[in-house]
């Protein structure tokens, strides 16, 4: 079976449980959103998968193979993160060459075509690029890497709106052309809600859900109205969270809305607002 499997994956630091007993499968050929609040364990998960750190317990399989210290398995994974693993004293074009040594499938023509679209100066040393362009250089190499599983950790930090837009569009285009798996870890859920087919939501190191975005959206709704009526209606239902303004209450409910009494309004909740409710204390 193709995909990345995490089995009871756990990572503890001295006093912190960064990741706790996470079991899930990342299916090959889909776009994922890895969503969690600050410190939820997103980066820990990505670092474990890419073998930058080792788990306290649990296992990771890439296309059925154990990934720890397994170069062949690790070649299938590319991680773009804030941490710079690219040689900062080199120019973009040299960095491309260097990465190609470990990722022979890297498509340099595509990388340079993208650099042109983003107007990246390929002759400048990476360390003298602006914050935005330094991210862009990393994004381009990730998109071009040819890896089967490409992770983006907060990809659009520091990018202006035009470049963000361009990045999302290029990602979809690349996905359509290669069929690789893309995993985007982000806070900016509204921006990529239409893009991600599956969402992995983690909170305080624990897995909240890993499901089709469509299903998450279909199986929840918002009910708004006078607080009393809302409470009466939601009694016995699974309420994920609620907001009250004056006497008007909005409750986020799991399931499908049925037999809605007069005076209550049903609407769809955005992925972002569901996420906020699922991960609030």
């Amino acid at each position: 079976m193709r995909g990345i499997e995490l089995k009871n994956l756990t990572k503890h630091y001295k006093d912190t449980k960064a990741l706790e007993d996470v079991t899930l499968t990342i299916e090959y050929g889909k776009i994922y959103g890895l969503l969690g609040r600050n410190g939820a364990g997103k980066s820990t998960m990505v670092n474990l998968i890419s073998n930058r750190i080792f788990p306290t317990s649990g296992e990771i399989f890439v296309d059925g193979e154990m990934s720890i210290e397994n170069d062949e398995a690790l070649r299938k994974i590319f991680t773009m993160s804030e941490h710079n693993l690219l040689p900062v004293d080199r120019k973009f074009k040299d960095a491309v060459k260097l990465v190609k040594e470990f990722y022979p499938e890297l498509d340099d023509d595509y990388a340079f075509a993208l650099a042109e679209k983003f107007e990246l100066d390929v002759k400048k040393k990476l360390m003298s690029l602006s914050t935005g362009y330094s991210s862009i250089a990393k994004l381009i190499i990730a998109l071009a890497s040819g890896a089967d599983y490409i992770f983006f950790d907060e990809p659009v930090l520091g990018l202006d709106p035009n470049h963000r837009e361009l990045f999302y569009k290029e990602l979809i285009d690349r996905y359509a052309n290669t069929g690789s798996t893309f995993i985007i870890s982000t806070h900016l859920i509204d921006e990529c809600a239409g893009l991600i087919e599956k969402a992995i939501i983690i909170d305080k190191g624990r897995l909240v859900t890993a499901e089709d975005t469509d299903k998450i959206m279909e199986n929840s709704y918002t009910v708004t109205g006078p607080a009393e009526l809302v409470d009466k209606y939601t009694a016995g239902k699974t309420v994920v969270g609620s907001d009250t303004v004056g006497g008007i209450k909005s409750a986020y409910v799991k399931g499908k809305a049925e037999n809605v009494p007069q005076g209550l309004e049903i609407s769809k909740a955005s992925l972002q607002s569901l996420f906020i409710q699922m991960t609030n204390d």
């Binding site: 889909k30 776009i31 837009e165 999302y168 569009k169 979809i172 285009d173 996905y175 359509a176 052309n177 509204d190 809600a193 239409g194 893009l195 991600i196 087919e197 469509d214 959206m217 609407s267 769809k268 955005s270 992925l271």
Partner: protein, 119 residues
């Protein structure tokens, strides 16, 4: 076209509606090719699987057909089929909503007919 992510309507239905509108208005004519799912998903920033789902909705209704290796095209008679379908939905989507609102506002049948004639 803009996708409304907060709409009650799923994204793939919004895409199918938009294609249908373009066909009814003649922006894409019968026999002509429609944009590829990749083109549509890139320009709308949606997952290609979602775009495909929207297109397949119209394929199932015979509005669009696929030519292997060439792309997707608007069927002959698509405009007529779409108009008929829209007509049958007209009552539920427009008339019923209007009558509900009119009742809330206390408008009589006479008031409504007068307003329609004015329009």
């Amino acid at each position: 076209m803009q996708i409304n992510f907060e709409s009650e309507k799923p994204i793939f239905v919004q895409l199918a509606d938009w294609l249908s509108d373009s066909i009814i208005s003649g922006a894409i004519k019968e026999g002509e090719q429609i944009p590829s799912t990749t083109e549509m998903s890139v320009s709308l920033k949606i997952n290609p699987a979602t775009a495909l789902k929207g297109v397949n909705m119209l394929v199932d209704k015979g509005i669009i057909y696929k030519k292997r290796g060439l792309g997707m095209f608007v069927s002959q008679g698509a405009v007529e089929t779409l108009k008929k379908q829209r007509q049958s939905e007209f009552f539920g989507e427009y008339i019923k909503t209007m009558l509900d609102e009119a009742a809330k506002l206390g408008l009589t049948k006479k008031d409504i007919i007068e307003l329609i004639e004015r329009g």
